[in-house]
Subunit: 333 residues, 2 copies
Amino acid sequence: MRPGVRAWPGTRPATPTLVRMASIGEMGEDALIAAFVPRLPVSDAEVLGPGDDAAVLAIDGDLVVSSDVLIQDRHFRLDWSSPEDVGWRAAMQNLADIDAMGAVPTALQVTLAAPPTLDADWVLRFADGLREACEPHGVGVVGGDLSGAREIAISVTVLGETHGTQPITRADALPGQVVAVSGPLGAAAAGYVQLTEGRRIDEESIGLFLRPRPRIGAGLEAALHGATALMDISDGLVRDAGRIARASEVGIALRSDDVPVHEGARFAAIELLVDPRPWALTGGEDHHMLAVFPREAAVPAGWTVVGETTDAFSGVRVDGETPVDHGWDHFGG
Amino acid sequence: MRPGVRAWPGTRPATPTLVRMASIGEMGEDALIAAFVPRLPVSDAEVLGPGDDAAVLAIDGDLVVSSDVLIQDRHFRLDWSSPEDVGWRAAMQNLADIDAMGAVPTALQVTLAAPPTLDADWVLRFADGLREACEPHGVGVVGGDLSGAREIAISVTVLGETHGTQPITRADALPGQVVAVSGPLGAAAAGYVQLTEGRRIDEESIGLFLRPRPRIGAGLEAALHGATALMDISDGLVRDAGRIARASEVGIALRSDDVPVHEGARFAAIELLVDPRPWALTGGEDHHMLAVFPREAAVPAGWTVVGETTDAFSGVRVDGETPVDHGWDHFGG
């Protein structure tokens, strides 16, 4: 078992049940909610949980809020991801967005729209994935909404609060500072390529594509070490560094040899006869943190320096070259 | 012009443009966001708005949070509702959920998933509808997410805060108290029936179906008058009264003759040769408030007493009879 993930004995059968579950349409909204809500994690900040017009939370400090949407066949595939994986991903990428402000996540709101023919079991196991991702962090699901739809559409809003630090944006990096990442990159891209090509070379990177595992708390750590700009890497190091460069009006010079590449991704790349560095530079969804620190000595242990900021140019250069954009458009076909 | 709704001169052409707009797929995510965000309302509580990993809000008191999802062809029809109508409804039903706690709404998070072929103009006019509903209340859209999808799926999370009162739930009504509603009911149902039957008898009720106009602040007013239970009527008076009855473990006796029926709904009913009272009793989506007050003298001016709580039975009775459930299941075909 990986660190930070608890077992939940008794909430699921050890082997897949052979009894056909009802669909959510057959089960009906009230029965589904009655089965769904008890499987959700409870927030440490919860004053009033699901079941009324709204939930109530006790918040100290400033409130930090972010949302992400996950659409079937665009953000996940039912033949690749288990329902727990989808719940985990929906939660974790949102927790990372709060960590990426140097803040602490406290609660999620989750809306789920799904075809009436979907197995109710899928929805309940989706709740289990939310819980597995959230509960170690004291984060709860405090409310949401369920609806019918033609395809599965999940929307998560995450709430967090600052803990004695100012929120760290993307906009306050200065020239001559140090750019660092909080973990090895490229695992999610390596996992995606393996699944796409029907090869299972490295199970860890496949697992990290299906369930990203950024170290939640790395962003707060960066804030406490004086980071001037901070975000999580969701669309790839180069593209996301470009966002900090643009918001802070600095140039960012990255050194590709210094970018830490996930070990399993390296291994998969050898078997696939490809260079793993593009996965680490442009593959997204690892959700590790990208931060700018005022000087090298401020970089926390366990982070890797991958470049620096400059006023000599704008945008991002990799090894002195302007990279071709490997952007991902969310409306693309 | 209705009270509480401002005009927004200059934000839209007075006549529909004949130039074909780009689709959102052609326009691309970055350009769409750049056009979308400036049309959104700004929250009075905003510390940091859209564009970073998360938004930041200053919150006093307890945080109150709720979410609703709207799916194309289930919650709205593109041939009935303008994009502004959909934005208005998405915002307003959420504002009502915060008012229904006796709290004050401050900000929305909005996620929108839509087919790449959708006109970008639709998305921008959707933002206008959000703004028209929110801005009079100082409520802003502080963040969200956009994605491709097969059908339009909107998810709104609304944040609010308590203003010196405790949140009012559904659970604290006692027997022998007074049940009241904050406005006339049945307009949305009358509008729906007219659109379904292709008759336009009363434009006001059609308009109220497309753009519900509860008086935001009625819930806080109820809280300040000592309401013991409070919710907004979204699924019909009888069904929603049943929710208070169940949560508070009381019976609720409603008198159908006392339920205020919207004037336009009455007029439409005459033309359609039907009784309008079922619309007022079981039609949802008017979003007026349903509250229980400790005694008749506590009911604020402008509210209408429609019954009382009792320990003589459980559930809801209308004129002494147990009503047939006219429930609405959100996973229904």
